[in-house]
């Protein structure tokens, strides 16, 4: 198992190069279509062209980057917090007696079905208007619920024969997690971490819609109010870029830790 965790020596260079190339092509095609579409549609208050959005950025680049930086902090902190709690919760669920595990899992899924946007304006009042605490909390909440199901599922659905093997080795709980459950769940964890990153982006923005005076969510609202749609899109683009960076990092980590699995699924 430990050997399987080693990165697969392969031709990473050429893959990386072609991967980057594909993204450039993707970005070029998307931006080109958007520019043409926006010009044809000719309602800049509904669909501004990328060139206009770029102009908007060049007007106040440091300010926009400042807003983006604040939101990035909220996203990253919220993501880390949510992911940490989700993993702790999944581990906790493993050691609890079955009826309690079942009950807590039900409680979590019930909580998950509460639309927390409804809470957002109240959370802001509790955690303070203008602070980033409430936004981090909401981003963490979004990330947590995007993860906890899948981590739990990944941890419990290990093969019974392998479980029995470890029992015959008289492995303790931590060994069980370290050598069987975690490696087995890792591919699922990485996939859902990506989902959680996107959820954290959305959570931070939802948080900023209530009681924020800085950050991309605030920029969206305040620019919408004065009819500056290009700036709204600029904020959305910034969010997307932050999201991509986060996803890129997670993908790199995924390659590092579960490259073997990616290879296997591709071959099958």
């Amino acid at each position: 198992m430990a050997r399987a965790l080693q990165p697969v020596p392969g031709p990473p260079r050429s893959i990386l190069r072609s991967e980057a190339f594909r993204w450039v092509v993707f970005a070029g095609v998307a931006l080109g279509l958007w520019e043409v579409g926006a010009r044809l549609y000719n309602s800049p208050f509904l669909l501004p062209a990328p060139s206009r959005i770029l102009q908007e950025f060049l007007k106040t680049p440091t300010l926009v980057l400042g807003h983006a930086w604040i939101t990035t902090q909220e996203i990253v902190l919220g993501f880390l917090l949510g992911a940490l709690i989700a993993h702790l919760a999944a581990l906790l669920l493993l050691v609890l007696p079955e009826w309690l595990e079942d009950f807590i899992f039900r409680a979590v899924s019930t909580l998950n079905s509460i639309p927390f946007v409804a809470l957002a304006s109240l959370v802001v009042v509790w955690l303070g208007v203008g602070s980033i605490g409430s936004k981090v909390a909401i981003a963490a909440l979004y990330a947590f619920f995007a993860l906890v199901y899948f981590v739990h599922k990944g941890m419990v659905s290990t093969d019974t024969t392998k479980e029995e093997l470890l029992t015959s080795y008289s492995a303790n709980f931590f060994q069980r997690v370290r050598y069987l459950k975690l490696p087995f769940a890792l591919p699922i964890i990485f996939t859902s971490l990506k989902g959680a990153a996107m959820a954290a982006v959305n959570g931070a923005i939802v948080g900023e819609l209530f009681g924020a005076f800085q950050g991309l969510g605030f920029m969206i609202l305040d620019s919408r109010y004065v009819g500056n749609t290009a700036r709204v899109f600029l904020a959305a683009v910034c969010c997307a870029i932050v999201g991509w960076l986060l996803l890129g990092m997670l993908t790199a980590l995924e390659r590092r830790f579960v490259g073997w699995h990616l290879e296997m699924t591709r071959r099958s």
Partner: protein, 325 residues
């Protein structure tokens, strides 16, 4: 090492001295009804030009935003025994006072007339021409209801403009015929974006002529801080006067409080604001003049439209003259 300790001690002393100097000022909070834009310009200017400080006040200007009711926030601060002021529309305050029994009191009025107008794709000659979907911000739908009167719900469907792209996008895309528009914001957006001929009406054209953006506080604050309230009002309108006289400089101050703003756009808005802030009444009685007769008429019209149960203003209006002409 000793030097460092000496420096530190000097630093701490300096901070303490500064702290005690500021302690002579009474802390106050000014809660705006929206993010900081041109309509709030008097407050940042009064802070930055030291008008509040001269009045013995250390004022924190707090922006509003969606989901943040100035009434709630003023009530919370007031319950905690602090000196607090807010900005909202008089009808929302009167409604909260009558229905929720909140001890809200009007001190002054920024806008003598309505900044809110009606944008329409078709000409309106009488209130019964207003039929169909009418977009307005939640909480700002009472003037149109008063224009139509009882039975408004059979004539119009009010939709929340807060969800509108570009603040007017739905109207500009002709998804509904009518939208309410602030003269310092949406009206300017329409000028820029509308491709076809449209019509602009004032609520005054239909007999609804109410003050807007009124400064309010609570009865508790008035009782506890009578002198500070007076000094606050005077300093605040000094700030507005200064901003109206020196728009360029005020614009720079505004940009400090909300860097996201397009300052030329805001200053254009300020010109419109000037028209409803400076009137014959205020030239005589000072900026922020409260026309009680207008408020009384407002209460009667709201009662007639079935929005309020009583037209009584008892205890609601406590004008504090600013003396700033």
């Amino acid at each position: 090492m000793k030097k460092i300790i000496g420096l530190l001690a000097a630093g701490i002393l300096a901070v303490l001295a500064l702290g005690s100097a500021q302690n002579n000022l009474t802390k106050a909070t000014m809660i705006e009804s929206w993010f900081i834009h041109a309509e709030s310009i008097g407050d940042p200017v009064a802070v930055e030009k030291g008008f509040y400080k001269d009045a013995g006040l250390d004022v924190t200007v707090v922006p509003g935003g969606p989901g943040l009711s100035p009434i709630d926030r003023v009530m919370a601060e007031s319950k905690a025994g602090r000196l607090v002021f807010g900005i909202d529309y008089p009808y929302n305050l009167l409604e909260a006072r009558q229905k929720q029994k909140l001890p809200l009191v009007i001190l002054a009025a920024d806008f003598q007339g309505s900044a809110m107008h009606i944008l329409s794709w078709q000409p309106i000659s009488k209130p019964s021409d207003i039929k169909g979907t009418f977009a307005t911000w939640i909480g700002y739908d009472k003037p149109i209801k008063a224009v139509i009167g009882k039975g408004w719900d059979k004539q119009i469907q009010v939709v929340n403009q807060q969800g509108d792209p570009a603040t007017l996008g739905g109207w500009l895309a002709k998804q509904y015929p009518f939208a309410s528009a602030m003269v310092y914001n949406e009206v300017m957006v329409a000028e820029k974006q509308a491709k076809d001929k449209y019509y602009l009406y004032s609520y005054k054209d239909f007999g609804v002529d109410w003050p807007e953006n009124v400064l309010f506080t609570t009865e508790d604050v008035l009782k506890k801080y009578p002198n500070e309230v007076k000094r606050f009002v005077q300093a605040r309108y000094k700030g507005f006067r200064y901003a109206l006289d020196n728009p360029e400089e005020a614009g720079k101050i505004l940009a400090k409080y909300n860097p996201n703003l397009d300052i030329p756009f805001e200053l254009k808005g300020l010109e419109q604001i000037k028209k409803i802030m400076v009137t014959a009444d205020t030239q005589q009685n000072g900026l922020g003049y409260v026309d009680t007769a207008k408020l009384q008429k407002m209460a009667q019209q709201l009662q007639a439209a079935g929005i309020l149960e009583s037209a009584s203003l008892s205890g609601f209006v406590n004008p504090v003259p600013s003396g700033v002409k």
